[in-house]
Amino acid sequence: MSSSTPQASFWRGFRNGLPFLIVVAPFGLLFGVVGTEAGLDLAKVMAFSILVIAGASQFTALQLMQDQTPTLIVLISALAVNLRMAMYSASLAPHLGSQPIWRRALLAYVLVDQTYAASSLEYERRPTLSPAEKIAYAFGVAASIAPGWYGATLAGALLGTTIPDAYALDFAVPITFLAIIAPALRTLAHVAAAAVSVLAALLLQFLPYNLWLPGAAVLAMMTGAQVELWLERRK
């Protein structure tokens, strides 16, 4: 059961990451298509996916660029969408903090939603893993996802405008996120946090710069933490 080498962890991560390709690939493909349709050349579309590797924020930036938004506001909005990455970083830090800085930096580069989701689940499931095994697992997940992300973006950019709208690829994003969230709704605290997240996101839409998302996230995290405390006190 416990295969205890970083190599074994890496390959377990790699295998666990592969299913994500079913959702990462259409997402990357879509970005390639939409980016090309928006008038970006191949180099810029690829630079987005290679330098940023954060689909939701890439789409946000692209959308705002087409609306002729001032560059600083495009940047702030897209980074607001990525604020959750800082929370991922903080959440993994206790597990990986003892690793050499270059490894942590490299992992930071590939710390996407799926890397975080799979890794935090793995660390919860196998708390006895060493930090080296833990980071190897995360790298394994990333090693299966990142090339797929680059490749799919490239394919999308080359396909350009030939994919008909009827395929509704836009909805690959919400469906993916929903499928990832659903199994995480384990406790009342998780459910409460998710409910507040949805409500707040819808009610805060009037906020500028996509601040509705970080705003909703902070409220939802406070809700989860408070419900957890409340449940503990009732025991």
């Binding site: 959308q63 660029m65 897209a78 980074l79 942590r104 469906i175 929903l178 199994p183």
Partner: protein
């Protein structure tokens, strides 16, 4: 089509890349293996369920592809994905079922 100069577009992409890396590196790089306080960990436990539902909600209710109008196909697909995801806890199966629902309802609705 985007009314930016080549240089501005490149600067934006690079800045977004650096900023995103900065967010991802923030705690991993600066905090190291110091213990984080319990109250912070208690909040971080809910990161995923705090961010992703909020990100998804407007996309489900007001999809850009329909110009922001609620769409039966997308609403059904989202519901099927969520319910199956909770019941079966199988990500891929839920996604496939959600996708199938999307196409099926689109097909029926013409």
């Amino acid at each position: 089509m985007t009314g930016y100069s080549d240089l501005t577009t490149w600067a934006l992409i690079v800045a977004l890349g650096i900023g995103t890396f900065g967010l991802r590196f923030s705690f991993l790089g600066l905090v190291g293996d110091r213990e984080l306080p319990a109250w912070l960990l208690r909040h971080l436990r809910y990161t995923a369920v705090a961010v992703l539902p909020g990100l998804v909600a407007p996309l489900v209710l007001w999809p850009q592809a329909t110009g922001g109008d609620p769409d039966p196909a997308r609403l059904s697909a989202a519901a099927v994905t969520l319910v199956l995801g909770i019941a079966l806890k199988n990500v891929i199966l839920s996604i496939l079922a959600g996708g199938a629902t999307l196409y099926l309802v689109q097909y029926i609705a013409g």
